[in-house]
Amino acid sequence: MNRLPIAIFLGFALLPLAAVFGAEKYLLDLFMRVMIFAIAALGLDLLVGFGALVSFGHAAFIGIGAYAVAILASHGINDVLISLPVALLAATAFAYLTGSICLRTRGVYFIMITLAFGQMAYFLASSLAPYGGDDGLTMHARSTLFGLTPFKNERLFYYTVLACLIGCYALCRTLVVSRFGRVFRGARENATRMATLGFDVYRYQLTAYAISGALGGLAGFLLANATDFVSPAYMSWQRSGELIIMIILGGLGTLHGAIVGTLAYSLLGEYLSGLTENWKMIFGPLLVLVVLLARGGLLGLAALVTSGWRKQRTERPT
């Protein structure tokens, strides 16, 4: 299973070479978006897959990161050295503040309250008249670095996004097996037991929530730069729902499942929407099938198939 993430990252890295043969702009755009949403999905998988904290307001973090960049740009502040920290800080602070309230609830209440905060951010963005309100805000140029404009180069920006994705994946991998991660995972298993061991699980969950928010903020920063545009739609609850679908589709609690899920969701959506306008009629049942047939999502399905093969192979000689 450890080869899979490497294969995925290699695939992303080689894509621009393949894209030379045609439709380069389209392919780069598509896969850039996949990687950006995969970063946010990683953050969400950290919460849902490892902490059983189903956050239904995750799009807000992306939106806040994106708006931070665009608003700064509209005031003439374009440099990454300022806009990136601001985007991360804004998303992290929002996650920390809302998380400190959300995490006092459990289960369905947690889902509802994260949704409520997500919608608050959405409506706030819609009413930001000086920054475009409902219409959103166009960025006239990508962020600059030390006054230079390296990200104007589409490929360079693509590889920057890939580097961010790999970095975030490595960060999450390290996090979940660390002392901190073990306490966080333990809280999912049995919060009362963790408390009686002497762990104040709330503090650990809040920290994880803030980290997850930061990943969302990074995704937002990249998204604003990739599309040169931000709009309240980035924060809509449908977006939050899509993120949840992505990680379930790929397989919860595996991290690379989040990337596989994002990839599958985006590519399938892209393909089906080319076939028919009502593509969600096909997509919906497909998703139901995956969840029904393989509880571990696409990764679980793959594991099922490969273990079946192995079984056949070992059974045949006898």
Partner: protein
């Protein structure tokens, strides 16, 4: 005489109109195994929950290791050295047996706000955990999933977790509940070895276990201590026989 490890003063707890704990005064002395017995509904589990902090007391106070802990939340009390088991086994089923115990070691050793380094590979955590498993006799299960253990093994694991916490007081809520005769004997054996190393408050229905282990027995009835004394004194007390032991001991 040294000060008691745990002292409850005038503790009260009502569930709605039902007074489950009524003006309760109680002590666990240093080093003793103090058993609490009583019929169903006498308030035994409530008592343990009040001590460990899972339930807030309506009035009265809990003094632990010379400190008033009545207002402290569960994790704070645990950090002061209060370990407990549950009537319904409470472990981390998705973790390995070793990790269950290593987490208890982690709780008392250093900060858990460490974001790098693989916790499962830390010898500083695994070695004390293995030592505790060895002592209880669970070494062979160390790498199995805790959720896959037999009921008796889960009970033993809960004791191991408590042991690894190196507690100043161990609260055991019916550790023998639902365990077969053979495994009960093993658990009694384990408890008799732990006894004396730290004070233990044992709530138990299994009278064989109670009379084999306890230094002192308190009988709880309708949320109050009916009587308290040595096993022999309690066994002979006509009040206790009438209220609880009845024909079982005759």
């Amino acid at each position: 005489m040294t000060a008691p490890v745990l002292r409850l003063e005038g503790l009260n707890k009502n569930f709605g109109g039902l007074a489950v704990t009524r003006n309760l005064n109680f002590e666990v002395a240093a080093g003793e195994l103090h058993a609490v017995i009583g019929p169903n509904g006498a308030g035994k589990t409530t008592l343990i929950n009040l001590i460990s902090g899972l339930l807030p007391a309506d009035s009265g106070c809990v003094v632990f290791a010379g400190r008033d802990v009545t207002a402290l939340p569960v994790p704070e009390r645990a950090k002061l050295g209060m370990a407990r088991s549950f009537q319904i086994t409470s472990i981390l089923p998705g973790f390995s047996v070793l990790e269950n115990v290593a987490l208890a070691v982690q709780a008392r050793m250093g900060s858990s706000f460490r974001f790098v380094g693989e916790a499962a590979a830390e010898r500083a955590l695994n070695e004390p955990a293995m030592a505790a498993l060895d002592e209880i006799g669970l070494t062979t299960c160390a790498h199995r999933l805790a959720g896959h253990l037999s009921h008796g093994e889960k009970r033993a694991l809960e004791l191991t977790i408590a042991l690894a916490m190196q507690p100043k007081l161990l609260l055991l809520d019916e550790p023998m509940a639902g365990v077969g005769r053979d495994e009960t004997d093993q658990l009694i054996d384990v408890l008799s070895r732990l006894k004396g190393r730290f004070p233990i408050l044992l709530v138990e229905h299994d009278m064989t276990a109670v009379f084999a282990l306890a230094d002192r027995i308190s009988v709880l009835l309708y949320g109050q201590i009916l009587t308290s004394g040595t096993p022999d004194a309690v066994r002979a007390d006509p009040q206790v026989v009438a209220a609880y032991l009845g024909e079982e001991m005759e």
